[in-house]
Each structure stands twice: as structure tokens, then as C-alpha cells.
């Protein structure tokens, strides 16, 4: 089943067309890779899907609903989470506090009661709520084998752990769909292996994963399907094997033989 799709999504900055009529679909339960040379429009596509940027033309559909140009916090609440190419943690908060923020909007709301009741109730039950949030945040940290680091400041973590913490925080929002923007960038081989295991574990939780990545070993070994962008346009899509043999993809990466 298609969880998310873009219909001829175009994003132009003045005369520069960063993403050009890209129709891209994400199947539920799979790990989808989004690859392409630098400047191909991968991150722009992510930004336009997650509400940080507004498409010039085209639509974004999530579970059949049109979410084009919806604000980022609404898209997050619908169940789409993401991480960034450059790490964006709350640097001066502790590890567990970072994850707790991800649960902010998840607690203390009873659908059947009014806003006023919820506000008063959450004020009275503050400590209880904080404990719940704390508990859930710790579970996610354990998932990443980071339980022992929960009171460290985020900025003091090793680089690879900072990247994983960002993923943990994104997961704390209980997403159905998780976007990872170059999760392995700057990681050493051991860290990358750990990350690959984590991404598989995330998929096993029935969370659909889309990732941008330049590390071809990672992409080829964990992605179920791959989409290739080049100069803002979709160049190819298919299984890792098909992509590896695709002549135009090879040309885009290595140049054409004269």
C-alpha cells in the first residue's frame, strides 16, 4: 500500500528548479532509499514533504490525504518525522530531555474532553505526565543502547551517537513514516554498521523509512527500493539490483563514456 506520494512536485527558487515534477511514492513497511549526486534535489524534496518548504506546484499525499503546504507541526502530528543532514539537537539539554521533547504533544490530551479540561488536568497531573514522558523516552534510549548516557548533555556525545539521538527523538513522536537525511554522514564503519542494524529494527516496528544516503554499501544492503534523482528530476526507481545495473544512473554518477 502506498503510504505517501508526491504528484509532479516542483520547487523552483526563482529560475532554479530544484525539484522538477517529481512523482515519488513510498510503500508502507519498506525501506526506501533516495539517492542522487549532490544538488539533485533530495533534501529539497524532503523539506517540501515535511512542511519546512512549500512546493511551487504539485501535491503531497499522505495516507490519501492532501498535506501539501501544511505546517510542519501538523505534518508531525499526522505521523511523519524526520532528521537533518546537519545535526539539530537541543545541544544544551540532556540526552533524555531531547527525546522527551519529542513526546510533548503526545501526552495529557483526552479527545473526549474540552481544551479547558485538558489544560487544567495537565497542570494538576504535571508530575505524573512528566514521569510517563520520561519513561517512554528511556525506552527509546534503550532501543538505541543509549540508556547509560541519558543524563549527558547532547553536545558531549560522540558524533555517531548524536546522529542516533536525533533519530530517537524523531521516533518519540510515534511516526508512521520516518525520513532520515544522510543518517550515516560522517560515521565510521562501526557506527554505520550499528546504524544499519538500528534502521532494520525500526522497520521491524512497522515504521516505514525513507532515507537519503551517499554510503552505497548502506543503501544497497538495507533498502528495499531505491529512487534516483538527478538535476531535480527522477532518473530511475527500482530494487537495488536494478539500480546498480541502470545505465543512466551509472552515467549520472560516473559520467558518460565518450
Amino acid at each position: 500500500m502506498t503510504l505517501l506520494e508526491t504528484e509532479k512536485l516542483t520547487r523552483a527558487y526563482g529560475g532554479v528548479v530544484a525539484v522538477n515534477k517529481v512523482s515519488f511514492a513510498v510503500e508502507e513497511g519498506l525501506i526506501t532509499g533516495l539517492i542522487g549526486p549532490n544538488g539533485a534535489g533530495k533534501t529539497t524534496l524532503f523539506n517540501n514533504i515535511t512542511g519546512l518548504d512549500v512546493p511551487t506546484r504539485g501535491r503531497v499525499l499522505f495516507e490519501g490525504k492532501d498535506i501539501t503546504a501544511a505546517p510542519a507541526h501538523k505534518i508531525c502530528r499526522m505521523g511523519i518525522a524526520r532528521t537533518f543532514q546537519n545535526i539539530r539537537l537541543f545541544k544544551d539539554l540532556t540526552v533524555v530531555e531531547n527525546v522527551m521533547i519529542g513526546r510533548h504533544f503526545k501526552t495529557g490530551k483526552s479527545e473526549s474532553r474540552g481544551r479547558f479540561f485538558n489544560a487544567i488536568n495537565s497542570y494538576i497531573r504535571l508530575r505524573e505526565e512528566e514521569e510517563q514522558i520520561y519513561g517512554r523516552a528511556c525506552e527509546w534510549l534503550d532501543f538505541f543502547d543509549m540508556g547509560g548516557m541519558k543524563d549527558e548533555l547532547a553536545k558531549n556525545l560522540p558524533y555517531g551517537k548524536q546522529r542516533e539521538l536525533e533519530i530517537a527523538r524523531a521516533l518519540a513522536t510515534d511516526p508512521k513514516l520516518l525520513f532520515l537525511d544522510e543518517p550515516a554522514a560522517g560515521m565510521n564503519p562501526q557506527e554505520t554498521d550499528h546504524l544499519m542494524a538500528i534502521i532494520r529494527k525500526i522497520r521491524d516496528l512497522d515504521i516505514t523509512v525513507v532515507l537519503i544516503e551517499h554510503d552505497m554499501k548502506l543503501v544497497m544492503s538495507i533498502c528495499d527500493t531505491i529512487t534516483v534523482l538527478n538535476y531535480g528530476q527522477k532518473l530511475a526507481e527500482g530494487t537495488p539490483l536494478e539500480i546498480r545495473r541502470n545505465q543512466s544512473v551509472i552515467e549520472a554518477y560516473l559520467g558518460k563514456e565518450e
Partner: protein, 305 residues
Amino acid sequence: MGVAEFFQHLMNGLTLGGIYALIALGYTMVYGILKFINFAHGDVLMAGAFIGLFVFDWLRGSAALGVWTIIAFFLAMLVSMGLSALLGMFIERVAYKPLRQATRLAPLLSAIGVSFILSNGAAWAFGTRSRKFNYPFDNTPITIAQVVITPHQILILAVSLVMMISLRLFVNRTRMGKAMRATSLDQPTAMLMGINVNKVISMTFAIGSALAAVGGILIALDFKVYASMGTMTGLKAFVAAVVGGIGNISGAMFGGILLGILETFGVAIFGIPTGLKDTIAFGVLILILLIRPEGLFGKVEKEKV
């Protein structure tokens, strides 16, 4: 200087400082979240004072001082807080929000424009003469252990204390307060964590403006209400916010009170002529910027809004 005299000046300084602190909070909260100085804040204070004055006079009618006038005063304050909050949200929506992606200078200039519109608009609508805001109670000073205190001063201390404690509770203990703290740390990331940043920003302006309205009314009781009343008071509260460390709530409270005390003591002890009183605030500003530009609470405490 005797002990009684010391406490007398301290009392005067605390009350003046309490008002500065209330107003400084608006500057600091907005800065904490949007990293920009809302120069129209002082004029929201003026608007709040006018609203308070009109509602109070209307409610009071010709009643003599008594319980009713006190009730009327607090009702007027509440109405003024509410309307000023709406005014603050409206200004943000119209003059700042469209400029959020623009260069950092643009909203600053827009704020100065709004400031001129508000103060000149008030002069045009209500005239330039100053109006007296009558005390809602008998303001005969009382003497406690040789220190002379007016009921107005007690009112200022009580009201600013209540406001500051409520604000602290709000920021530290409510969901909206937590959302504000997260937004001040990193806006786009807060958004991706499901926090409605627009609502947080609106709320920040509403709270800051409501506090400014209270400050405006409290000042007006001593110094009357007029169209340009927000300019100098606003500037000094801004100095207080910078001295305390702009963006930091505790800093703004502390900076405001410190500034009030320095002004009173400067005149009383160092014999600075009353006419030059304003130089104290700006002298302190220059000193702080030279010695500790991040403000007194700048990096020591991390809690910001």
C-alpha cells in the same frame, strides 16, 4: 545615611524596579523566541494605560473612594491586559509575521514604524495633554518602622510579585510554557516535534503585552497617561532586559529591580541631579555592554524563553 533612610530608598527602588521588570519581561520573552527587539513594546504599555484609564473612569463614574473603586481598578486592569494582549498579537500578525523570513533588520524597522503609529495615533485620537489616573484608594502614606510607604507602592509590589510568580509557573509548569522553552532553543526543530510555533509566538506577544499593560497602569498612577509615555519607560525596561541578559526571564526580573534600585540610590546617595536620573540607566547599559555583553544572567542560567 541611617538604616531607616536606606530602607526608604530601597523601598522606592524596589517599586520602580518592579515596574521595569514587568515591562522588561515582554522584551526578553520576544527576544528569546524571535531574536528581535520589539521596539513597539513601550507603546503597547501606553495603549494599556489608556485602556485602563478609560475603563476605570467609566466603571467608577462618580463613586467615592471605597471598595467599589478598588474592584473597578482591578477590573479595568484585567480588561486592559486582555485588550493589550490582543493588540500585541495583532501587531505581531500584521507587522512581524510577514517578515519572519526577511533579513533580521526588517522586523526591527517594522517595529519602530509600529511604535510611531501607536504613539502618534494616540496623540491624534486622545490629544497630547496628559491625563490624570486617579488613585482607586486613599493614597495617604503609612509609616512602618520609620519607613514611609504609600498604598500605591504596596500595590506595585504585590501586583508585580504575583505577575512574576505566575509567569514563572506558567513557563516552567505548563505545556504551553514548555513549548515556549523548546521554541526559544530551536524553532524549526520544535516545529518538527509537533509544536505549533505560530501559536507559541502569538502567546508570547500576548503575555508580554498584558504585562506591559499592567506596568503602564501602575506607572500612570504616579506619572499620568499621555501618548509618548511609553518611549522612555520602554527604553529603560529594554536596558533592564539587556542588563539582566536578554532572552532570560530571571535576568529581566533581576535587571528591572536592579535598575530601579540603582536609579533611586544614584539620586539619593551619589547626589546625581534628578534631571539627570535617566543617565544612570544608560550609563549602566554602557558599562554592562563593555564588561559583560551577554548580561548578568546571560550564560549562567540556561533557561530562556
